[in-house]
Amino acid sequence: MNAAVEPAAIAIAGLNKRFGQLSVLRDLDLTIADREFVCILGPSGSGKSTLLNIISGLEGGYTGTVQLGATRVGYLFQEPRLLPWLTAEKNVDFALDSCAVPQSRRAELKDHYFDLAGLSAFRGFYPHELSGGMRQRVSLVRALCVEPGILLMDEPFGGLDELTARRLRIDLLRIWRESRKTIVFVTHNAYEASYLADRVVVMARGRIRDQIKVTVPRPRDYDDPAVFDVNRDVVRRFLAAADVAEPAVPESDPALNPPGGKP
């Protein structure tokens, strides 16, 4: 990436975050290019969700700098987080209202993204009438309709069965090809990362341990052997990164070194 040629979508430098005595992110530097699809891969407690929350502005109280090239950020949580008393369409309206998207653009945006997500027939359905995968699709439509410059996704398919998750991954890439947002996608699934990303960033214990460029050409086939090859490489380097023995905290202060890492 050449920052001089194209301004970065996200530029993070020297980021440190603590929860009380626990250091969650340490000296983290990360630059993400405009329209890049980055997957952050890490085990539970590696600080990847915290990183996402800081980028989104939900989490404050850190040191270092976080600069965004976009004013609006979309966020897809692990759960759909739909308002249960509103229909799919009204849930999207809620976001459009909140973000003050002009009335004149709303119908077109909704038609476009509901269609893209394959949900045109389900706009009037309540969340409890939809399957888990469809709810997550509604959530994706909601995130896209407010036209964020950056889309943050925190294990959005983690709670779904494998078949549904697979369909959603394929659809996500299809939608991404059309909308071309910058995406930061957090996951602990190496294959998912290999299939989706331009670049896989491996995190462990609050640091970036490794980065792997994925050069498989797009559009990608979910079962392309090339993706499997990338996956093998990613897993190998993921394991290596997780195994790095490290004096996490100065040994002079054992109180700062709780066993087991972040809760």
Partner: protein, 247 residues
């Protein structure tokens, strides 16, 4: 609705069977009570008393909600407030409604204000407890979602928090109404010269069981109309989105 009607008919049937087993002056049957009530209506004796009781019930319920709802919400969202107030609510719940009535009549006087205050104070703790529990079930992940979509405080309050608390507010109205009815009658009995409670006490002193049952019947009918005709309809409109659960 059919099942509900059958159930109601069953209650009348039990009443009728019991009345057959007991002397007529001790337990008149549903027919006698209904005819007595109809006669009272025709004499114009019912509506003024019913109206004043309804007024007290409405006023007392409004006061109870005005105290109980904010109190319960505060206790649900603030741990310090919970620690300070939960003992108050417990004590408030334990004090018999008769004590509230007597204290209010002595301190405020034998008037409508005292009546409504006594009713409101008695019902408020139950409403507070209901909302306290309700606020604890709020899904704050939805608030986080709303913040991501740049929603301000007012919008989050009105469109994310209030709809989650609304079922508990509605449940409080229903429960509160049930409590308020019972207290209103009691308060009228000891300190007011009119109202359904006053009439019940009057006929009790004359040991006229047909009249006592007639007024009890009236009371129950009005309650049912409010419950089924108003509250159920509001609930249906507000919570129509909820999935029907079959057991």
């Amino acid at each position: 609705m059919g099942l509900r009607l059958a159930s109601l008919a069953g209650a009348f049937l039990i009443w009728w069977l019991l009345s057959l087993a007991m002397p007529a002056n001790l337990l008149p049957g549903p027919w006698v009570a209904s005819v007595t009530l109809a006669k009272d209506f025709a004499q114009g004796d019912v509506l003024p008393h019913l109206a004043i009781t309804l007024l007290r019930v409405t006023g007392g319920l409004a006061l109870a909600m005005a105290i109980g709802v904010p109190l319960g919400i505060l206790m649900g969202i603030n741990h310090r407030a919970e620690k300070v107030l939960d003992i108050w609510v417990m004590v408030g719940l334990t004090v018999p409604s008769l004590c509230y009535a007597i204290i209010c009549f002595i301190l405020i006087g034998l008037n409508e204000a005292a009546t409504i205050v006594a009713i409101g104070l008695t019902a408020a703790p139950s409403i507070a407890i209901n909302l306290w529990e309700g606020v604890k079930t709020i899904d704050f992940k939805l608030v986080e979602m709303a913040r991501i979509f740049e929603a301000g405080r007012t919008r989050i309050l009105a469109r994310v928090l209030l709809p989650q608390v609304m079922p508990y507010i509605m449940a409080s109205v229903r429960m509160g109404l049930g409590i308020v009815w019972k207290i209103a009658v009691l308060v009228e009995l000891i300190g007011r010269p009119n109202g359904v409670g006053f009439k019940l006490f009057y006929w009790y002193q004359l040991a006229d069981m047909a009249q006592v049952l007639a007024w009890t019947l009236l009371f129950t009918l009005v309650m049912l109309v409010i419950e089924l005709g108003i509250l159920k309809q509001i609930e249906h409109r507000l919570f129509g989105w909820r999935p029907r659960v079959g057991l």
